[in-house]
């Protein structure tokens, strides 16, 4: 670390020379200016991003409102001041007046700003309440900040179960280090390997958290920015009204690569989104075990033990005896039944009004493994084996 430091310091003169060269190149190549990035920053953009959500639109309105009111007051007050500077100068022969107090005037210019401020606060309150309302989301996505990338987990809604990590394109990072951006693409520092994909016109709830330090999830076109705080969850929402690509960046200092963890949100039409979900799910499934595989008993039981420990033991206990209202599995007639259909029904669909939850999000192989495990653990030495194909068949019913 220290060596690196010294190297950086030492190389400054050398780099200074190269920056001068580059600066020359920069001036020379002004004609080869980069273009606007739709959904991201425009060249020399002067205002907020073009809004793509109602909330962002409201923010635009509020900002214009504030800008106009403030400008009017500013011009008013300083016209008076500059008039006075122009008129009441000693060199113009001005003699100073003697007044220095007026309760009436003081009260007036305390009350008027107060009323103006109230007038500003009212529309802001409306927008604030709306942008904090994260209820009734169509799709819930958990966004996890890592040093230095974003993780996306589709928790609820279409695409549920999808999960991936989104990182900056490594060529951009290398280009940044090289210091030479003469050939930088239009999405320099904003291109990621796996963009977050969402459907248009749907209320998307973003739950943020972080793995290490605080990050912030920001998409200016949507009018959202929410800190991602380790150990805590926070949420925000947006409903994108136009398909397209929208860009943001991490907005809370999170260490050395803070500038290199962009956000790219791809908004698709409902149909395209469904197709994308199916393709992703297929890809995800392809990565998983082949449900057609025929397993041997001991392999499957071994795997099932792990699945049981991770998902079932909290209630049914590691010894399978259950506790209180939780049914025991050890010695259970359903578990020991030669026909596994009943048990699969319970595992896939839940029971006891959800006290036993549905576990359909687990993979076919995991479910087959855990069922096989319970059929052979403790005193249940049935020797029965449930293959993943049986789970697939049961899911189809």
């Amino acid at each position: 670390m220290r060596l690196k430091q010294v190297r950086t310091m030492k190389s400054i003169p050398h780099k200074l020379a190269s920056v001068l060269l580059l600066a020359g190149a920069w001036v020379g190549s002004a004609a080869h200016a980069v273009a606007d990035l739709p959904g991201g920053p425009a060249v020399n953009q002067l205002n907020l991003h073009p809004p793509v959500t109602r909330i962002a639109e409201e923010q635009h309105f509020l900002h214009w409102m504030m800008l106009i009111i403030c400008t009017v007051i500013f011009v008013g007050v300083f016209s008076v001041m500059f008039y006075s500077i122009w008129k009441h100068r000693k060199s113009q022969g001005a003699k100073s007046a003697n007044f220095h107090e007026s309760v009436t005037v003081e009260v007036v210019w305390t009350v008027i700003p107060f009323l103006i401020v109230i007038g500003m606060a009212l529309p802001a309150t409306k927008v604030l309440v709306a942008q904090k309302d994260t209820t009734n989301a169509d799709l819930t996505i958990k966004t996890t900040g890592y040093q230095w990338k974003w993780g996306y987990d589709y928790l609820k809604g279409e695409g549920e179960g999808l999960s991936f990590i989104s990182t900056l394109d490594s060529s951009h990072r290398a280009m940044s280090n090289s210091g030479n951006v003469a050939n930088a693409p239009v999405d320099y520092l904003l291109k990621v390997d796996h963009p977050l994909v969402v459907p248009v016109g749907k209320k998307i709830r973003i739950i943020t958290t972080a793995n290490d330090v605080i990050h912030a999830f920001m998409v200016p076109a949507f009018g959202i920015k929410q800190d991602a705080i380790p150990g805590f969850v926070r949420d925000t929402w947006f409903r994108a009204e136009k398909v397209g690509d929208y860009y943001g960046q991490c907005a809370e200092l999170c260490g050395k690569e803070h500038a290199y963890m962009p956000i790219h949100v791809k908004v698709l039409s409902a149909g395209d989104y469904s197709q994308w979900v199916q393709a992703e799910q297929k890809k995800a499934a392809a990565k998983l075990d082949d449900p057609a595989k025929v397993w041997k008993l001991d392999e499957l039981v071994k795997r099932g033990e792990k699945v049981y420990a991770a998902n079932c033991a909290a209630c049914h206990q590691p010894n399978g005896k259950g506790a209180g209202p939780i049914k025991p599995l050890d010695g259970s007639a359903i578990v020991k039944d030669v026909d596994a259909v009943k048990q699969l029904q319970v595992v896939l669909g839940g029971a006891a009004n959800g006290a036993m939850p549905a576990w359909k999000q687990l993979s076919d192989t995991d479910l087959a493994a855990v069922v096989s495990y319970t059929k052979n653990a403790w005193s249940n030495k049935t020797g029965q084996l449930v293959q993943p194909s049986a789970v697939v068949a049961q899911r189809g019913k």
Binding site: V43, M66, I85, K90, H100, V213
Partner: protein, 545 residues
């Protein structure tokens, strides 16, 4: 040699000093190390603050040089974060705050007719504590892993990842906090107990008033900062988990504690500036300050409100909607007393008989540019808009408008206003005007484009940025270089000649509209002033015997 540096040696020559004969204070370096005279300590504070302004300025220029164009050319991202962090810490704790304490040391006893500060040795201690603290801060660049890089706000849990320099930084903050608290106690006791007979609180000059309020703010919040960074320290080394989520701690609690300190802190840096401006505007308008009482009440209201607005720095942490609403309303409310102050200054100018020497130029520049920062503050206070602008360059633009064009310009105004009193030498008016226009223009070139960058969503503390932001960044970098050079010019062409005693001799009262007891003593102010309490006229602005 110089007017400032040689008081005791030449003291016999000063009028008003011969009454009690020869001065037996220490000379040479002992005079400064063992200084107990408020004027000497004030000078030390001001020189220290200017040195730190230069150090922090060099860090700022390195930042701007790196951001001159996209891509990393000069520094790596680790060093970049160290530069932004240390620039902030050094400017806030090393430059702006000590500069105002220097002003307080010089001017408060002179303005209230006191012979010195109440606790002369504690005064010495609070200054000399700053030296090791500054060395720890600047020296942290040489420590393994480099200087702290968690931002000047030192947010947890990023601070837990920092190297040993973080501990040095925490220690430095503790020392600076102790120094500030001692300085504040000194100022409060001096003002409350040592005013000349007839100098009632409501006749006191505005600068003394604003510092009295500021000193209370400091005593209230510096211990809070000390608590926050101590908890950071124990989280780092002693296994506690105040802010460490891995142990069940809450990183957001750090932010609440920090900003409970941090928001009053920004008023600590602006209230004395309001005081200086409130002295200068009437002096050059040749007319009494309009609404003196309402100025006092407005300053107090700002100070009180500053304790209930802290979480407007945290709108994006995901507070409940009621919390956001409360902090939005409370913050917007602060614009009311601030507006009253601006109106009062303008009313003071109205139908005055104005001249525009450099102090007045900086004062008018302050009012004009600070107000821009005030309005962007109001825009940021609005939570829905803040969601867009939080942690972008808009915030950077905003707080530089209030801290550079606000606090720093007021400090310059004060230097030009009082340097004849301090050194006995008039600065060269032309140079002051050059400094003003150079600073004002380069300041706006630097920081105005940052509003656009922020609106377009460029996050702050970024070592590299998308190509679309390139032009405004280049403009800002060029402006920053100009602004930095303007301050070198200020020292070389204005401060140094005055300190050396080169220039026209200053009269006792160089500004014909100026009022107050500091103009009742000769220029330069003798080493000892008001050793017996002066007898004041009814307005408490003239000595009558």
């Amino acid at each position: 040699m110089s007017a400032v540096l040689d008081h005791p040696a030449t003291a016999g020559g000063h009028a008003g000093h011969e009454a009690h004969g020869h001065h037996h204070g220490p000379t040479g370096w002992r005079r400064w190390l063992f200084a107990t005279n408020h004027k000497d300590i004030g000078t030390l504070y001001l020189l220290f603050a200017f040195t730190m302004l230069m150090v922090g300025g060099v860090l700022a220029l390195l930042i701007r040089a790196e951001l001159f164009q996209p891509g990393l050319q000069l520094v790596n991202p680790e060093l970049f974060n160290q530069l932004t962090t240390m620039h902030g810490l050094i400017m806030v704790f090393g430059a702006i705050m000590p500069a105002f304490v220097g002003f307080a040391n010089w001017m408060v006893p002179l303005q209230i007719g006191a012979s010195d500060m109440a606790f002369a040795r504690m005064n010495n201690f609070s200054f000399w504590l700053m030296i090791p603290a500054a060395m720890l801060l600047v020296g942290s660049f040489a420590m393994p892993g480099g200087a702290p890089a968690a931002g000047w706000t030192l947010y947890a849990p990023l601070t837990l990842q920092m190297g040993p320099s973080m501990d040095a930084g925490i220690f430095a903050m503790h020392i600076l906090g102790a120094s500030s608290i001692m300085g504040s106690i000194n100022i409060i006791v001096t003002i409350l107990n040592m005013r000349a007979p007839g100098m009632t609180l409501m006749k006191m000059p505005m600068f003394a008033w604003t510092w009295l309020i500021t000193a209370y703010l400091l005593i209230a919040v510096m211990p809070v900062l000390a608590g926050a960074i101590t908890m950071t320290l124990t989280d780092r080394h002693f296994g506690t988990s105040f802010f460490n989520p891995a142990g069940g701690g809450d990183p957001v609690m750090y932010q609440h504690i920090f900003w409970f300190f941090g928001h009053p802190e920004v008023y600590i840096m602006i209230l004395p500036a309001f005081g200086i401006i409130s002295q200068i505007v009437p002096a050059f308008a040749r007319k009494k300050l309009f609404g003196y009482a309402s100025m006092v009440y407005a300053t107090s209201s700002i100070a009180i409100l500053s304790f209930i607005v802290w979480a407007h720095h945290m709108f994006t942490t995901g507070m409940p909607v009621t919390g956001q609403l409360f902090f939005m309303y409370a913050t917007m409310l602060i614009s009311v007393p601030t507006a009253v102050k601006i109106f009062n200054w303008v009313a003071t100018m109205w139908r005055g008989s104005m001249t525009f020497e450099t102090p007045m130029l900086f004062a008018v520049g302050f009012i004009f540019v600070f107000t821009i920062g005030g309005f962007t503050g109001l825009i940021l206070a609005m939570a829905p808009i803040d969601i867009q602008l939080q942690d972008t360059y808009y915030v950077v633009a905003h707080f530089h408008y209030v801290l550079v064009a606000g606090s720093l310009f007021a400090l310059f105004a004060g230097v030009y206003y009082w340097i004849p009193k301090w050194t006995g030498v008039m600065y060269v008016e032309r140079r002051g005007q050059i400094h003003f226009w150079w600073s004002l223009i380069s300041f706006n070139i630097t920081f105005f484009p940052m509003h656009f960058l922020g609106l377009a969503g460029m996050p702050r503390r970024y070592a590299d940025y998308p190509m679309q932001f390139a032009d405004f960044n280049a403009i800002a970098s060029i402006g920053a270089l100009g602004f930095g050079l303007a301050q070198v010019f200020f020292f070389v062409a204005v401060v140094w000649p005055c300190m050396r005693g080169n220039g026209a001799k200053a009269p006792q009262k160089p500004w014909d509209g100026a009022e107050g007891l500091e103009w009742e003593v000769p220029s330069p102010a003798p080493f000892h002033t008001f050793e017996t309490p002066p007898k004041l006229d009814a307005t408490a602005t003239r000595v009558i015997g």
